[in-house]
Symmetry: C2
Subunit: 391 residues, 2 copies
Amino acid sequence: MSAAPAQSPLAAAILASLQEVLGNRPVALHEPVFAGEEWAYLKECLDTTFVSSVGKFVDRFEADLASYTGARHAVAVVNGTAALHVALLLAGVEPEDEVLVPTLTFVATANAIRYCGATPHFVDSSESTLGMCATALRAWLEATTERRSGICVNRRTGRPIRALLPMHTFGHSCDLEGLLGVSRDFGLALVEDAAESIGSYYHSQHTGTFGRLGTLSFNGNKTITTGGGGAIITSDAELARRAKHLTTTAKVPHRWEYVHDEVGFNYRLPNINAALGCAQLEQLPGFLMSKRRLFDRYAAAFRDQPSVCLMREPAGCVSNYWLQTLVLDEAVAGERDAVLATTNAAGVMTRPAWGLMHRLAPNRACPRAPTPVAESLERRIVNLPSSAGLA
Amino acid sequence: MSAAPAQSPLAAAILASLQEVLGNRPVALHEPVFAGEEWAYLKECLDTTFVSSVGKFVDRFEADLASYTGARHAVAVVNGTAALHVALLLAGVEPEDEVLVPTLTFVATANAIRYCGATPHFVDSSESTLGMCATALRAWLEATTERRSGICVNRRTGRPIRALLPMHTFGHSCDLEGLLGVSRDFGLALVEDAAESIGSYYHSQHTGTFGRLGTLSFNGNKTITTGGGGAIITSDAELARRAKHLTTTAKVPHRWEYVHDEVGFNYRLPNINAALGCAQLEQLPGFLMSKRRLFDRYAAAFRDQPSVCLMREPAGCVSNYWLQTLVLDEAVAGERDAVLATTNAAGVMTRPAWGLMHRLAPNRACPRAPTPVAESLERRIVNLPSSAGLA
């Protein structure tokens, strides 16, 4: 833990801009808003005693998610990490494979690869999207891989590279066109980690629906929450059937017999959590408008600060503005910890980007492309209070 | 699916006995009772917006579970399967190890071994407890294993046998004294799957607290429910600390930094589910009395049926009577499907034991002791409606 500089005019200016928008009071980074039918739906669960893995809210939440995202199918699961694990398995990831993943992401993205027995292969991000950079990735794969029997193989490790796992950072869509091109040209399955991007679109199509499978998260800090929860989305009926089977202990349907035809998982979302999800999803359009309003207010407040940039949705994209993000100029990156210290000390919760994945102790031996942009972004990102209730 | 015999006097007699206790109406196998503070605690979660992984009900539920079971520590997790996975890891189970597990159990017990990269090694059960038979196990290990550098090794496969994972079937305690002896004499870690046995005791000590670690489940069909949930219990402070760390993404505590020091899991129990658990645990003593009353009524109703035996708590044990269990005599085992068909057709839900683990497709190549008792029990077990609300 580095000590913050005693005085930072930048930190003071940023706090002042934040308080101009938020008022002079403690503000959380992201807290949920329960202003809809949460209450009624939870009560229905208790009254009918259907709180667990079977129940109408699970079915309804899955149908509502499919309808909202435009994916043909959604399978509700216990959290976004579980969704990633099973999506990767269904994309064909096997032990000893490698999976391309941004080094700038939450730890779950990389961990899910490990759960498959595979190895994360870290790649760089783009300054304009904060997500996986398709251009750098293509150059890296051209320089370091070759096709063997049609499979993309890392020449240094000799291992197959099976899939591409971009993440839509803070709700901003990656360059999906570029990544789809890489996926096609190198024969890699595209799985989208859309944990942060419900309500975000790339060229009018919902994030998470471009790859073979996508995953969502409804953790308590997300745009909508089920307490803890997630979903796998796909438009492939057979993958959806397999996702449901694998996440529900691979039980073969029967009136009373207990037979399981493969090693499955207990990743079911309880009905009580799905009930919360149904109520939250009804309010999502309103939440998105509030979050966009908050962006506008922050944009006005930070307009005259030349050394910081408020992250704006990429061209051609609609972002959900899940987490509002200031990107400091390189020249003032050294003041990031002062900004974090000053704002948090004033009760205005802010946070930096995650520590880059390739630097975490368990990942230090993993393969990695050069990641200069991610390393720079890591030093410069400050997330701001972002709750839908703030605007 | 085998066709049921058209007529079975035994099936008719069993249905009549059940209806004598339950009345002439549809009855579920096990449904929860929400008659306490569930409502108030859920409302508190919504009102405070603490529905997710941080919140006072998680802390309270863990403290209440520790206090109730007498384990020094409890770590709440997302379900019983997740609890088993992490408990096995903490017991030292590694890839290529074998873990001894009853073939008569729910699939989660065996699957959790696979999640560690280890192999289930199936063993027999005892007719008197329905759980792992310590006598048969000792004889099997004496005949087929040897010590190499102090480690118990399966002579046939050459793999280390690392742990012993008994399960307290339907809430009846295993022969823990016998199993502790095997654990000691063969140098195996004892982990107890107490998913079904909250409120069950062996010689006045709560099940799950004899092994190095124990696991609980609060699935919707259990004695108390959190929708979906589970816990790891242990009296070892360092194991408890490791369990909390591994189940919460192995994040290193810091005011704002995101650093994770190993590959962890997202197995946190959401606060909203823990809130339900706190309310349920307050009612557990009453639930246990109801379930014991139901046992007494069934015992009276089945007293005059010579070819069936109602499963009674083993000597020296107190059972929670989670699932009431009829064991048919071998002579009438062929009528089990008729009993299931007749009772379910009348709306009285009954079920057989799980299909034995060693017969499931993914487990057919796993090592296995002779399992004559489990094979016989599998043909003869019928679980009866068991909800606390029935008596």
